[in-house]
Point group: C2
Chain length 304, copies 2
């Protein structure tokens, strides 16, 4: 089974606390490492959870509120000081580039590695990176300032021939190759056996969607159909739904509705307002709508 792992580095909202750092997540998809958002303190969280900053290939920044990016310049600087030479790909709102270059220039720092900045586009859905292992797409969400969500999809393994089929028929080397590459099989009686009946994925493609910060936006569920795991912000409880709308945030039940409508297998909620000392009622409310809901905590790790 190829790895597709998510580490939550920060599950809180705007103000950091000693128990919840603001937003950041580390994804590993096969050999590729991705950081989504990078609040202040993220480089220490990476250290705490034994994840190497030097192995990060892509950094995705959702928007320019500090609890999603104030840690990025520190991470970039530390990578430089630690001797990084591999290029780093940073995707974010266009003005992020101005902030980073201003801070590097004033520190008189010429990075030892190539920092490739890819500005996110003002479009509903854009593929921003794709290779043989994975695809990363960005999609617009609704917040006080321009904000994007991200969808990371692992490419499926090649289909393997089912053992039951192999024990029934004797295939030549050429036939085996053709079936593996997707051909149907024609047996001695001239019957066509469709490829999908005789092959299967040992590990199907998985996908992970990250939606924060956003007003509840029902139409997003169409973009996220059949996502394996959805991370969705749930800053507020239902009783604060009005405040959620006013501040362009979501409630627990709204996050759950999104997971349900998208047909997600599992929902992780996070970005909780620090006003709630006990988050159990918020989780319970969400579970009433979508049972497979879990609460993010700093250090939480799960497989897709």
């Amino acid at each position: 089974m190829k790895p597709f792992t998510v580490h939550i580095l920060g599950s809180g909202s705007a103000i950091p606390t000693l128990h919840r750092n603001p937003s950041s997540q580390h994804l590993r998809v096969d050999t590729c490492c991705i950081l989504i958002d990078c609040a202040e303190g993220t480089q220490l969280q990476l250290k705490r959870f034994n994840l190497s900053p030097m192995k990060i290939d892509h950094v995705l920044i959702s928007h320019l509120h500090g609890d999603h990016y104030f840690g990025l310049i520190g991470l970039i600087s530390s990578m430089h000081l630690a001797g990084r030479i591999n290029p780093l790909f940073v995707y974010g709102p266009p003005a992020l580039y101005d902030i980073l270059t201003l801070q590097l220039a004033l520190a008189n720092t010429q990075l030892r590695y190539r920092l490739e900045f890819i500005p996110l586009q003002d479009k509903p859905f854009t593929s921003v990176f794709a290779d043989d292992l994975l695809e990363i797409a960005a999609f617009k969400v609704k917040h006080r300032i321009p904000c994007w969500g991200f969808l990371v999809r692992q490419e499926a393994d090649q289909r393997n021939i089912k053992k039951s089929f192999l024990s029934q028929y004797r295939l030549s080397h050429e036939e085996l190759k053709a079936v593996k590459e997707g051909a149907d099989y024609v047996n001695a009686q001239g019957e066509v056996i469709p490829n999908e009946q005789i092959t299967c994925y040992t590990h199907p493609a998985g996908s992970y969607a990250y939606c924060t910060d956003t007003l509840y936006t029902p139409e997003l569920s169409a973009l996220l159909q059949n996502v394996t795991v959805l991370y969705h912000e749930a800053t507020f409880m239902q009783m604060h739904e009005k405040e959620a709308a006013e501040t362009y945030h979501s409630t627990g039940p709204q996050a759950a509705r999104m997971a349900k409508n998208a047909g997600a297998k599992r929902l992780i909620i996070g970005h909780f307002s620090s006003r709630y000392k006990d988050l159990t009622p918020l989780l319970d409310e969400a579970r009433l709508v979508f049972d497979q809901t879990e609460m993010a905590t700093d250090g939480m790790c799960f497989q897709i």
Copy 2:
């Protein structure tokens, strides 16, 4: 005794570790609170050591290397979110203002409180703030980019009349007042008794100097004569003196020489390179030059 307290919030150099945050210190002088430098993670350090960010009046930033200021924008934002209304005075290199205003504008944040920015001047020594309680001065040090040190001086208490004098003479209310305000006393025999013989400070003025990051600059000791406590960077050990000079940093013995030449009562060294796993030899080297040397640690607190 009026308080003059220093809390070390970060004693490490460029790269944060789980045991040493980069530079930041919290001073309390009477009722006034001052933050010197503000590395990433400083707001959490304040929380960890139970110091209120809301009570900070002045923030002094030495220079624009990230390990001295990357935490400032997060602290400023958190003060806003927590409802601060008192003005905040920030002293730093002129371009710091551009960084802060760019980041606030992109987040669409209008601060609820007044942020008063005072650009540090390119002069050897400038008084930047003074009131009845204290005086803050900035002085240029020598680093790769423009960098300042700071001298914080607590005003002495009013002089009090010595008990031995009061038991010897009977002073009228007016005489008492005059002596307290500095007048000499003329006794019945017409003898003049000088004020300094009959009054004393219950608590003499104390001072604290902060020097980081800097090449060892002997002439600074003249500016810092008789400082009570000197904090001086000691990034390197003596065996790395060449590297210290090349990177505009100091060694432990150089910091100690500065304390000795300035006639300081006590020296605190910090900003240690993370290459030294055991800092005892660095401290020992410094103590050979100046015995009253101590090593800064995160959370260390001392009275001036």
